[in-house]
């Protein structure tokens, strides 16, 4: 395990400490050591945005705390849901009396902990609503969308929900916008080399050299097929063939594209992959309204790439265009 860590059991607190020190301008600790908040939260008159999940997905989840994005985040152990207590605290930190939208991913532990946290928050008189991201196409067949995992599409859900809240949207409007974002979003991932949970010390699955795992999950959940390692262009094509018919995305559509590395992927390769995605979408008459290429949602040190496509209408375009400022996403008009 060639890693830059100390005690493998302490990667989360070590990372959280480093993160707080690195971003004093917009990140603040809270009374709960697994909850961080935007320095200006709660923001008067604004719906609070909360998310959270297991660690190891940097920039997700802490990296999206910031201006016009997430107000407070619950941080879990590596690949393990944060506690209900952490979600509860995050909800309290984000609440400015206009209600709180918890925008998170569809994983059993997170679902249970959020449910518990909501009960406690509601006992405190805080109105809480949720959107559950389920953008990962290969994780369940069409028709069974409710079972799908949330992956990098969560980033677009936070962007949209965060912008809607910043624009003064009510809790219902924020939830509706975030839900629309995720309903219009589809993702798929490809793994080229496995990841290792530091406290375990060895990869908990394997991908043979010369092979790749198509449809892999963000924790190494098995994909839909193992194939020969393909070229970047072929990977782009396979990814689009999985994503496009599922919504479906059609000629004339405008989309936001988000390409993310999985942790050990050089950014150069993400651009090479995106280059083909853009070309293929163009051939299908689908135009990219705004592209994101970078490390937006990773899986420890996994080598691989994910593609996320969101169909946008005028409302989503406006929300996607809004300025924002966090470690994982910074946007401004120039």
């Amino acid at each position: 395990m060639q890693r830059i860590i100390n005690n493998p059991d302490n990667v989360v607190p070590d990372m959280v400490q480093g993160f707080i020190k690195a971003h004093p301008d917009f990140i603040q600790p809270t009374g709960h050591e697994r909850v961080l908040k935007y320095a200006k939260a709660p923001i008067e008159g604004k719906v609070g945005i909360v998310t959270g999940g297991g660690s190891g997905h940097k920039p997700a989840f802490v990296g999206y705390v910031g201006k016009n994005l997430v107000d407070a985040v619950a941080v879990g152990e590596i690949f393990s849901s944060p506690t209900a207590g952490a979600f509860y605290q995050a909800i309290k930190e984000a609440d400015a009396g206009k209600g709180v939208a918890v925008l998170y991913g569809n994983y059993a532990g997170d679902v249970m902990n959020v449910k518990m946290a909501m009960e406690d928050a509601e006992d405190d008189g805080i109105e809480v609503k949720t959107v559950l991201a389920n953008d990962d196409v290969p994780s369940a067949p069409k028709g069974d969308e409710a079972k799908r995992r949330g992956v990098a599409g969560e980033v677009l859900m936070w962007k949209v929900g965060g912008a809607k809240a910043a624009a003064g949207g009510s809790l219902e409007e924020v939830i509706a916008a975030a839900q629309k974002a995720i309903n219009n979003t589809r993702s798929v991932g490809i793994g080229l080399a496995p990841c290792t949970i530091p406290s375990v010390g060895k990869p908990n699955f394997s991908i043979e050299p010369g092979k790749m795992e198509f449809g892999i999950g963000h924790h190494g959940e098995p994909g839909v097929k193992i194939t020969e390692l393909k070229s970047a262009d072929e990977m782009a094509q396979m990814s689009l063939e999985t994503i496009l018919p599922d919504l479906p995305f059609e000629s004339g559509d405008e989309v936001v594209v988000l390409v993310s590395g999985l942790g050990a992927t050089p950014v150069m390769e993400e651009y090479i992959f995106f280059n083909k995605v853009e070309e293929l979408l163009g051939e299908k008459g689908i135009s990219i309204y705004r592209p994101y290429v970078g490390d937006y949602f990773t899986s420890l040190d996994m080598m691989g790439i994910t593609l996320t496509v969101m169909k946008v209408d005028d409302e989503l375009k406006g929300l996607i265009d809004a300025d924002c400022y966090s470690m994982g996403m910074k946007q401004m008009k120039i």
Binding site: S80, S81, T83, G109
Partner: protein
């Protein structure tokens, strides 16, 4: 009446903590076969922390169960934090205001706990989870009480059914949780949660029998 004083019930929780501490390695080993090998670690972390918090407190059964549930919920995370957290919180809540814990109160306690698990986790019998232990155990307890058996005998029948339920998970294919990913390969191993649930029911039964004997 056949029962024990709730005020003396902290020993039930003490027993649970010891059971989990003693079986930490065993539970992780079982989880290692078809899960990620951390069940004993997760459980031990939560139960030990809870005990630290309550050991010097003058608590009855309700208070001890509540502290245990609260700790699991707030300090463990993952899936087991909320599942066992609610399990014990709901047990505590069902005891509210009760001075004496008789078979009916114990049954209500188990039912509330099971209700929380069902509501949160949505697992069914046969999914290869702790529900495969819990469901037959409660059924056996209720059946025994209904047919007029004593609290103590009902407890014995509960433990026997829990053990059978736990063993039944060996041949099952996991439908829920982490090992569900393995599909057919999850057959031929016990479910870690089913084992921990059995060990806890057995421990509680032992503690209650002890208290009943003292009355």
């Amino acid at each position: 009446m056949d029962g024990f004083k709730a005020a003396k019930g902290k020993v039930l929780v003490e027993g649970l903590v010891k059971t989990i501490q003693e079986n930490k390695g065993y539970l992780s080993e079982i989880d290692g076969a078809i899960g990620d090998g951390d069940h004993g670690i997760n459980m031990n972390k939560g139960f030990s922390l809870a005990w630290e918090r309550m050991q010097d407190e003058d608590l009855g059964l309700e208070g001890a169960l509540k502290t245990l549930g609260q700790t699991l919920l707030n300090d463990i995370g993952g899936s087991m934090g909320p599942l066992y957290g609610q399990f014990f919180r709901k047990m505590a809540r069902s005891l509210k205001g009760k001075e004496e814990v008789d078979a009916a109160a114990f049954e209500a306690m188990l039912e509330s706990a099971y209700g929380a698990i069902k509501e949160l986790g949505e697992a069914k019998v046969g999914d290869k989870t702790l529900v495969d232990t819990l469901d037959p155990a409660i059924g056996a307890f209720k059946g025994a009480v209904e047919s007029g058996k004593s609290f103590s005998v009902a407890l014995d029948e509960m433990v026997a059914a829990a053990e059978k339920g736990k063993d039944s998970t060996f041949d099952l294919v996991a439908k829920i949780g982490r090992s569900a990913r393995l599909g057919e390969r999850s057959r031929g191993a016990l479910d870690a949660g089913a084992v921990s649930c059995f060990l806890m029911l057995k421990s509680m039964s032992g503690s209650v029998q002890q208290l009943l004997g003292e009355e």
